[in-house]
């Protein structure tokens, strides 16, 4: 379902390429704990493995994050989704879309892939129940045809989880 949005992407700008190369180097030197990035030659799409933190309800589980970078990264936020199967979480939809403000309205160019990963892991870790968002079915139905989560008007109602 991300195929269509990926194919319509524009190539990275020079600024974006430079910045991603630096991030990649930094990641290799100092990777955030609990994450594994399988480096490929595709700078524009990163697939990152996430390991549920010890002592949380996701301990021992493994998920995959897909990060797609827009032409004007980092001025524009990357698109971040969980690949199937997405973790059961009150802010994660079954199609992998994540309801997290820094991925949309609160994005700042001073954030990095690494800081996004840490935020996502912290969001996972603070959950006490494994369940889908209340409006999961309706939302997922609306997102057919590969709509990007960045086109969604998110409503960040809960900062506890």
């Amino acid at each position: 379902m991300t195929g269509s949005s990926a194919s319509s992407r524009k190539v990275l700008s020079k600024i974006a390429t430079n910045r991603l190369q630096k991030e990649l180097v930094e990641w290799q030197v100092n990777p955030p704990s609990g994450f594994l990035h399988k480096v490929t030659d595709n700078l524009q799409r990163w697939v990152i493995e996430v390991y549920g933190a010890q002592g949380t309800i996701y301990a021992g589980e493994k998920y995959q994050l897909q990060v797609d970078f827009p032409e004007h990264y980092p001025m524009e936020a990357p698109q971040v989704i969980f690949l199937h199967p997405a973790p059961l979480h009150p802010h994660i939809y079954s199609n992998g879309h994540i309801c997290l403000d820094i991925l949309y309205d609160s994005w700042s160019p001073a954030m990095t892939v690494s800081s996004i990963c840490i935020s996502i892991l912290s969001m996972l870790s603070s959950s006490t129940v494994k369940e889908r968002p209340e409006d999961n079915d309706r939302y997922v139905k609306n997102c057919r045809n590969g709509r990007s989560p960045k086109e969604t008007r998110w409503w960040f109602h809960d900062d506890k989880v």
């Binding site: 600024i15 910045r19 630096k22 004007h72 001025m75 524009e76 700042s108 160019p109 001073a110 954030m111």
Partner: protein
């Protein structure tokens, strides 16, 4: 006085737009005594003062410069009270919707909290003291002097700042609350920094957002309905700017309205008029309630109406619409009417039978159709008795005047952009001397507007008030023919002066005629509006006219020609028995109080 009013030579451009009702330039805002516009004109001396019967300066039209000045005033005020920079003052004011008092209150209640909320640091921090710094966005290393930061000292390179600022500006007015890119920092990025780093286009956008914020966050904003945006895009209210594929609506003027004054009508300098109260287009003489009722009715009925007109016929006896969806021509109306009739000829069924060519054919209809009895007007006339048709009657005329008004606006535009220059050329007249033509057209536009609403008025005028209805229809008819005269002169006769080789000798006479017609029509319509607004109370009062103001202005209108002839007439007729204390005479036919100078009743045209 005379010479100044003559052709409005001496008036500046704005007054043309304001003339309809106010007469004085819009900037003289007079908030106090605007309510009693109907009774303020008892001084009969300056009878040539055509336009100032109503003092309605309960609003001020602000252009961009005016808005900017007010904004700067407020910013300077706050900056000096709180001893902070203008940039900081602007950030504070914007946060508190440009309310000077709110900023004051909040600041002195808890300065620290306010600073935290809006991102104003007490002590600005400089850039880190190192020769080279790493940009927090692109992670490149630059010499210290090519880095910038907000008051918080977080260093970013100029290129990244530019990208950050440009992205934010192109995202919309949110750029007015820009913060430092560092996620852990909430320091505000002020106007000075944005302006120094943004591209020329972005700077202009930012400036507009900044200005608009002052208007929109600060006061009651008129949100015109979508329809109006569409209509008025074609004219002047809003100039659309398409940038990056996004339609930016730039409102050129703002209106500062002081509630509690006289009427709610506001005429912007772009010559668009609207009602401050209900935000519909200006709708005097009918009130806001009637307008909303009428608009509701239009939207609810128009669909039904079309269907009914297309698919039904009224019962010839009770006039209820009947749909014939199947069956023969023999129709029996529903109880209690139960009238039996022929669908084709709408005649009684009892007349049908062998004589009409059998029960299931109606040769009366065929024959009559051949003779043309059932032509459209015939059908219309018959259906006019129908109550639904009554609505259609008013609606059609309302809508026709609406479209005539749009047409007149377009003609006015055409006049201003093309014809005036040509006319000035042909007739060797400076364009400033041709304002009377623009005025005539503005008057036509205004008349169409009033006329349009008189149809809503007429629709709601109770059926049983026969005298009022009659009088109303008479006034309306007169208004229409008066307007036709003006329109004819401003359109057809003007053509004659456009399509000539050299200057016409009688151009001055034309000027007199058109200017005269304009003012007569203006006065007639003003009186009409007033008469309708007070519910045609004159009809009940029977001659006890309270409309001295109106009659005076009519007199003024008729003497607008300023010929010695009319003055002579005035002095001769001064002894008439019908003249009341204020020097007016009441018409024997319609009881209208005319100025003593008039020999013919201004309302019904009857001789004295």
């Amino acid at each position: 006085m005379d010479s100044e009013d003559d052709m409005h030579d001496a008036n500046d451009a704005e007054s043309v737009d304001d003339d309809f009702y106010s007469g004085e330039t819009a900037m003289d805002s007079d908030d106090g005594d605007a309510a009693d516009y109907e009774f303020i004109d008892n001084d009969s001396d300056d009878s040539n003062d055509l336009v100032s019967h109503r003092s309605q300066q309960n609003y001020t039209i602000l252009n961009e410069t005016d808005i900017q000045l007010r904004q700067e005033d407020d910013i300077t005020k706050i900056a000096s009270i709180l001893s902070i920079s203008n940039v900081a003052a602007a950030i504070l004011l914007r946060h508190y919707n440009w309310s000077v008092s709110k900023v004051n209150d909040e600041w002195f209640a808890d300065e620290e909290k306010v600073r935290r909320v809006v991102g104003l640091l007490e002590e600005p921090r400089p850039l880190p003291n190192a020769k080279e710094l790493t940009c927090g966005i692109c992670f490149e290393v630059y010499p210290n002097d090519s880095m910038r930061s907000a008051a918080c000292g977080h260093p970013f390179c100029v290129t990244c700042w530019q990208g950050y600022i440009s992205t934010s500006i192109n995202d919309g007015p949110g750029c007015l609350t820009l913060r430092c890119p560092d996620p852990s920092c909430g320091a505000a990025v002020g106007k000075d920094m944005v302006v120094s780093l943004a591209s020329h286009d972005d700077r202009e956008k930012y400036r507009r957002y900044f200005l608009r914020s002052f208007v929109e966050d600060n006061r009651k904003v008129i949100v015109l309905s979508f329809n109006f945006l569409i209509i008025d895009l074609r004219f002047f209210f809003i100039s659309p700017l398409i940038q990056n594929g996004v339609l930016l609506l730039v409102v050129d003027y703002a209106v500062d309205f002081i509630v509690g004054g006289g009427t709610f009508d506001v005429t912007c300098r772009c010559s668009y008029s609207f009602c401050w109260n209900c935000t519909e287009e200006a709708h005097r003489p009918v009130d806001c309630d009637t307008v909303s009722k009428w608009i509701m009715k239009n939207s609810a009925e128009s669909e039904n109406m079309n269907w009914i007109l297309a698919n039904s016929k009224p019962c010839p006896k009770c006039k209820r619409p009947i749909e014939k969806n199947q069956g023969c021509m023999h129709i029996t109306c529903t109880p209690p009417c139960k009238f039996e009739f022929c669908w084709l000829c709408l005649g009684a069924w009892s007349d049908h039978g062998e004589r009409t060519g059998g029960f299931y054919a109606c040769n009366r209809y065929e024959a009559a159709k051949q003779e043309g009895v059932y032509d459209d007007t015939e059908k219309r006339r018959e259906m006019a008795k129908n109550s639904l048709e009554r609505y259609t009657h008013y609606y059609e005329r309302w809508a026709t005047n609406q479209s005539s008004r749009q047409k007149a606006l377009a003609d006015l535009q055409q006049m201003q952009s093309v014809h005036l220059e040509k006319l000035s050329d042909k007739q060797c007249q400076p364009e400033s001397q041709l304002k009377f033509i623009t005025e005539a057209w503005l008057q036509i536009v205004e008349c169409r507007r009033v006329l349009k609403w008189t149809y809503a008025y007429g629709y709601y005028l109770p059926e049983h008030e026969h005298a009022k209805r009659q009088f109303f229809e008479y006034l309306q008819g007169e208004a229409e023919s008066g307007l036709e005269r003006l329109h004819q002169c401003a359109e057809k006769e003007l053509q004659g002066y456009l399509n000539v080789e050299g200057p016409s000798k009688d151009f001055n006479e034309f000027r007199m005629k058109l200017a005269g017609l304009t003012s007569v029509t203006r006065n007639y319509f003003e009186n009409l509006v007033r008469a309708l607004e007070n519910g045609l109370s004159d009809v009940d009062a029977h001659g006890g006219t309270s409309r001295t103001g109106g009659s005076r202005s009519l007199g003024a209108g008729s003497s607008k020609g300023r010929t010695s002839r009319s003055k002579g007439t005035a002095s001769r007729s001064s002894g008439s028995r019908n003249i009341d204390d204020s020097g007016h005479w009441s018409c024997e036919y319609c009881t209208f109080a005319n100025a003593k100078s008039a020999t013919v009743c201004q309302m019904c045209q009857q001789r004295r």
